[in-house]
């Protein structure tokens, strides 16, 4: 290495070849969230375990027992409390032996592991419950072909698991794939969500519903695409913050920005108050349409390829007006507008999907 190389770059004692190597392979070094957060943990461990599965497949080996990582804000406090073993290097290399490991971690590497080798999913689930970790973000490699993520923990009924099928076929990120992923999220996690409602009977959402939707969708997209793209929330663009951006590591794939809007019949009453404020259809339409210029501007400011406006519609009746209004507003700006209707119950879901059949409302006894 010639010292003059870096002097001409004005970078002191830095080695030019190493600087250029970081630039050439930079995508892997770009973060999606602050260290220690759930998002960064999910992104890192989903990638590490996916790479581990690929490594085993390349050697013609199978995973002899599952690998499960659970997130904690402070894994030392929890791990020491459980008497688990400190493993500061766990996750350092995807070629390490992981099988039969149940561990609790905070960052991208390092964790506290249960001292015993755990042979199957039932034993691991029991151990998670015994450790009182059933409601913590969990990432599990179940075989060399299946990675499963429980965003709210293995004991959460409210948030469905995210499955990543692992094989050696390339993961593609283009408009068709992204549209399908959004549909999949809608069908599996959103349409019959139990966690987005505060009072389903009165059609009142949780507070800050857009933030809750954003969080769930972010984790879903990370589960699907962390291997091929940097999926980030709240990226600063111009004077605003984009709800979700997808930046593929492969430049042949499609980059996109997603703007999320929630429409609803009532604003959630503030704590200490009981009266919900009604939102009219026109107010909802105006609010939803305001996302068109936001997402188009984010796309253009950052030279992204696609701009989505995703409206999660909590209003009664699955009315088409909001969908029609956003599509009309979006078309001149080449924004892809989608409306996803959120139901309050299985009954409402079935009645909407199968309108000509019996409603299926259970008869009241007595």
């Amino acid at each position: 290495m010639n010292a003059n190389d870096t002097e001409t770059m004005g970078l002191g004692g830095a080695l030019k070849a190493a600087v250029e190597a970081v630039v050439d392979n930079g995508a892997a070094g770009i973060s999606v969230a602050d260290a220690g957060t759930r998002t960064a943990f999910l992104d890192a461990w989903a990638r590490t375990l996916t790479e581990h599965a690929r490594y085993l497949r390349s050697k013609g080996e199978s995973l002899s027992a599952p690998v499960v990582l659970v997130h904690a804000e402070n894994c030392a406090d929890v791990g020491e409390g459980l008497g688990w073993t400190r493993r500061p290097m766990l996750g350092g290399a995807p070629t390490d032996p992981f099988s039969g490991t149940l561990a609790i971690g905070t960052g991208e590497i390092g964790a506290y592991a249960a001292p015993e080798h755990l042979q199957d999913t039932n034993v691991i689930t029991d151990a998670i419950r015994a450790a009182n970790l059933g409601h913590s973000l969990t990432v599990a490699l179940l075989s060399t072909s299946v990675l499963v993520i429980w965003p709210e923990g293995v004991d959460s009924d409210a948030s469905p698991e995210i499955r990543r099928e692992l094989d050696d076929a390339p993961v593609v990120l283009d408009l068709t794939a992204l549209d399908q992923a959004l549909k999949q999220f809608y069908e599996r996690s959103a349409r019959q969500s139990r966690t987005w409602w505060k009072d389903r009977a009165k059609r009142i959402t949780v507070e800050r519903p857009e933030g809750v939707v954003q969080n769930d969708l972010l984790h879903f997209l990370l589960g699907k695409y962390s291997e091929v793209a940097r999926v980030k929330a709240e990226t600063v663009i111009g004077h605003g913050r984009a709800d979700i951006t997808l930046t593929p590591m492969n430049t042949n794939f499609t980059s996109a920005v997603l703007e999320l809007k929630v429409t609803r019949d009532f604003l959630t009453p503030k704590p200490g108050t009981v009266t919900p404020t009604a939102c009219s259809l026109n107010e909802n339409i105006d609010w939803a349409k305001s996302g068109v210029s936001q997402t188009a501007a984010y796309r253009d400011d950052e030279s992204l390829e696609a701009a989505y406006l995703c409206v999660y519609d909590f209003c009664a009746g699955n009315r088409e007006e909001i969908g029609k209004a956003i599509e009309d507003a979006a078309a001149p700006y080449s924004v892809i507008a989608r409306r996803y209707w959120i139901t309050t119950s299985h009954h409402e879901h079935r009645k909407d999907r199968y309108p000509d059949l019996s409603s299926g409302v259970p008869r009241v006894k007595g």
Binding site: L15, A18, T235
Partner: protein, 216 residues
Amino acid sequence: MSMATASSRLDSAGMWKAWVVLCIAEARRMGLTPVATSQLHVILYLANTLADLFYVTRVRGRVLKRGDYPFFPDVQREVDRLAFTGVLVIEHVEFGAKGQMAAHYGLGPQGAEICKAMLAHSGEAQRTARLLRELVSACFGRFLNARADIGAVDANYGNAAVALGEVVDFSEWNIDNKNVEVARYLIDHLRKLRPDAQRDGVRLYCDYLDRAMAET
């Protein structure tokens, strides 16, 4: 020694102690303690060089160029004091050549309380903790578990313009903070991937160190 100098040293000692406690606390939180003496000094040095990225006021902008990695003898005295007062705990000690000892530090119960109080009351402490969290995560995830000898490849410390035995100066009065320049160079060249100027500045610089150390 003038009153002003003595006062400044006391302030500096207090800031160093705060940084050391925050650093060990962040490492512990992620399951990465104990932290060896050499690892601690490398993290503290890098945090000082990259402090501008997080709008954190650096404690010191100079280090003597001597040895394989940046080392602050006066800070080590403060670390020793923290260990002997129970703020830090020495989890084990390695004995090297020529009677050298290297302690590996964890966080004592008092340290945890002090850390909590600092974070509850100081925005500067929160920003410093965030910087240290990123550094701890980036360094241990890459080169620092195996090696701390960053001296030859660190942009400031390894700069051929600074001879051995001279002072490496990256203070605010000196525009030559090469570590930040490398971080900004990388951020700029990866602009298309929309890096975060703060945390990715730190991560990409550590990524650079990892690759550079693999070459030496």
